[in-house]
């Protein structure tokens, strides 16, 4: 069908890009709101997430406590907002490390090819074969003491081979295009080609993968929290809030439901934005 359509209407090449749609902007808004909350949690008129109000233990959602309180009387709404800090910090921080190292290497390897590419790619593929989750857990569990920075660093480094592979594949599909050869022929330097020709075309792929990567890392952080390998209580994170609430969820299901909802909505929005960008920029499926 597409081929036939191209045949009949190729006159003025139609914009292939689908419009982004309202839902996309709703998701962007939601993500922005979460990030805003995470950054300005201190400044916002929120209750202290660590304050144990024993006069209001296990309260349901209401006016005073929007999402209710937990078994120690702590305000769940403010804990959810504060909890987003850890998730977002880990997700964004780890991906920044991953992209900071993996993306330039991937682009360079795909553009330069030759021995540089061969050696680097072999190393990365071996690292990729090593299950990143297991390695992360093993390192985090024996590398005391735990802390946010260490978690970000370990997950970030573990994501480098994956980012490298995605960016390298994406760059290679672009680097063989005639316009790259044309730029070379006009006497453009390698740096100019990387910045002016390759980067603008790799960026959309990179951004959509980055967003989906952030979502994946946040999920991983949640899993680590369940194992007690994320930040230490009482600092709230979405993961450890859900984990702590499990024991009392029969009595107070809100304790589980609100942080779960916050986590899932945030992940959903990230995935949706990433997915929409991918189809908008006509990027072929890049597998995670």
């Amino acid at each position: 069908m597409n081929e036939l359509l191209e045949e009949v209407s190729l006159v003025e090449r139609p914009e292939k890009n689908k419009p982004l749609g309202i839902l996309f902007w709703v998701c962007v808004g939601w993500v922005a709101l979460n990030v805003f909350g995470a950054i300005f949690a201190n400044v916002l008129p929120l209750q202290n997430p660590l304050f144990e109000n024993f006069s209001a233990v296990n309260a349901g959602p209401g006016l005073h406590h929007l999402f209710g309180t937990d078994d120690l009387g702590r305000d769940i709404f403010s804990r959810v907002v504060y909890g987003s800090r850890v998730s977002i910090a880990v997700g964004v921080g780890a991906m920044l490390i991953g992209f900071g190292i993996g993306a330039p290497l991937g682009m360079l390897a795909a553009y330069r090819r030759g021995r540089f590419d061969m050696v680097l790619t072999t190393v990365m593929y071996i690292l990729l074969a090593f299950p990143a989750i297991i390695a992360t857990i093993a390192v985090l569990s024996f590398w005391a003491p735990r802390g946010l920075a260490k978690i970000i660093l370990v997950i970030g480094l573990a994501s480098v081979p994956l980012v490298y592979r995605v960016i390298r594949t994406a760059t290679m599909s672009i680097a063989t295009k005639d316009y790259i050869i044309a730029a070379k022929v006009q006497g453009a330097t390698d740096r100019r080609i990387l910045v002016k020709e390759l980067l603008p075309n790799v960026t959309p792929i990179g951004v959509s993968f980055l967003l989906i990567g952030v979502a994946t890392v946040i999920t991983l952080e949640g899993a680590l929290a369940f194992l007690g390998l994320s930040v230490n209580p009482p600092t709230p994170s979405w993961g450890n809030m859900i984990n702590e609430a499990r024991t009392v969820m029969a009595q107070n299901p809100w304790l589980v439901i609100f942080p779960s909802l916050a986590l899932c909505l945030f992940l959903l929005c990230l995935n949706f934005i990433g997915d929409r960008l991918r189809s908008h920029f006509d990027v072929t499926e890049v597998k995670l």
Partner: protein, 324 residues
């Protein structure tokens, strides 16, 4: 001072080998030719014959494994770094796929200005005037289309933009690699005429690579025919088409379709398909499909020899030439 014209481009014994030692494919095997200033040399052959690779090797887009490529006496094959980048601006190339030869995320003006910006040779308003002028020359209104992105254009328009870009540095030699084969006939005619006009206006020398015999004849002064990595015949277009000396050229011309119901049907069709370049036949590479092949063709490779002024053929038994 000699009376004889000096060639603009002198290619001697060009070889391009792809792949590793065990799977070596010699895509171009000892190709030599000259291109004189102001002329158009057509390079024609079937897919896989190495014509495109030859064009790319001249620009060092693929690395030649041996041979010399002299542009006005300077050997391109031995240049590197900035010198190579510099010498490349004297030669430009237009590609087969008009759409993929333009960066979809850049504006038309910037694409055409790219060579100037690379060298920072022309700046400011002078640059803008030059770009507008180039776009006008190829029939694209710079005021209307200059700020559009390349992805919004059709194949024919993209090819016009490519031509404008290639002319920005005032190259001496333009290599056109199947530049009209992706276009419809009506658009193809527009582009071919445009190319002819610009050739005169800019005093260009062209290497025109294509598989379409009629198109090649139309644009070329001289034509070279390639088969399996080698040039089998080279000569002035009109005489080569009228009286081909190499059996392969004759078959190729015989297979060409004419839009004329009275033209003869293909009575003599070349049988079989070209052998694999991984394992080319000994001696003459065409001998496995040639009706005139003998023992000699298998044992000894025919060297190019002149059968008429400027008309060379690499065949032990060239077809008899009947001249008017």
């Amino acid at each position: 001072m000699t009376q004889e014209r000096q060639p603009l481009l002198k290619v001697r014994d060009l070889n391009v080998v792809f792949g590793s030692r065990h799977h070596a494919v010699s895509a171009v095997a000892g190709v030599s030719f000259d291109i004189f200033p102001g002329e158009t040399l057509g390079l024609v052959g079937e897919s896989g014959c190495g014509k495109s690779t030859t064009g790319k090797a001249l620009m060092r887009i693929v690395e030649p494994s041996s041979g010399t490529i002299e542009l006005e006496g300077v050997d391109i094959a031995s240049q590197s770094g900035r010198a190579l980048r510099n010498i490349r601006t004297h030669m430009q190339m237009i590609f087969q796929d008009p759409i993929s030869s333009l960066n979809p995320r850049r504006r038309v003006k910037d694409i055409v200005a790219e060579p100037l910006d690379c060298w920072k040779s022309v700046k400011g308003t002078e640059r803008d005037v030059l770009i507008s002028d180039l776009l006008n020359k190829v029939g694209i209104d710079p005021a209307v289309y200059g700020n559009r992105y390349a992805r919004q254009f059709s194949g024919g328009q993209c090819q016009r933009i490519s031509i404008a870009r290639s002319l920005a540095m005032r190259p001496k030699l333009l290599i056109c690699d199947e530049m009209v084969s992706a276009l419809d006939v009506s658009v193809q005619a527009q582009i071919l005429n445009l190319l002819e006009d610009l050739k005169h206006e800019y005093g260009l020398t062209l290497l025109f690579i294509a598989h379409d015999l009629a198109v090649v004849k139309n644009v070329s002064d001289r034509v070279a025919v390639m088969y399996l990595g080698k040039i089998c015949e080279i000569g002035p277009g009109d005489s080569l088409y009228e009286a081909p000396a190499h059996p392969y050229t004759k078959f190729l011309l015989g297979a060409a379709l004419e839009a004329d119901p009275d033209s003869p049907m293909h009575s003599q069709v070349l049988e079989g398909e070209p052998p694999s370049p991984l394992n080319p036949p000994s001696g003459c590479r065409f001998r496995t499909r040639c009706p005139n092949a003998t023992e000699l063709c298998a044992s000894e490779e025919p060297q190019p020899r002149e059968i008429a002024p400027g008309h060379q053929v690499a065949c032990h038994f060239p077809l008899t030439i009947t001249r008017k």
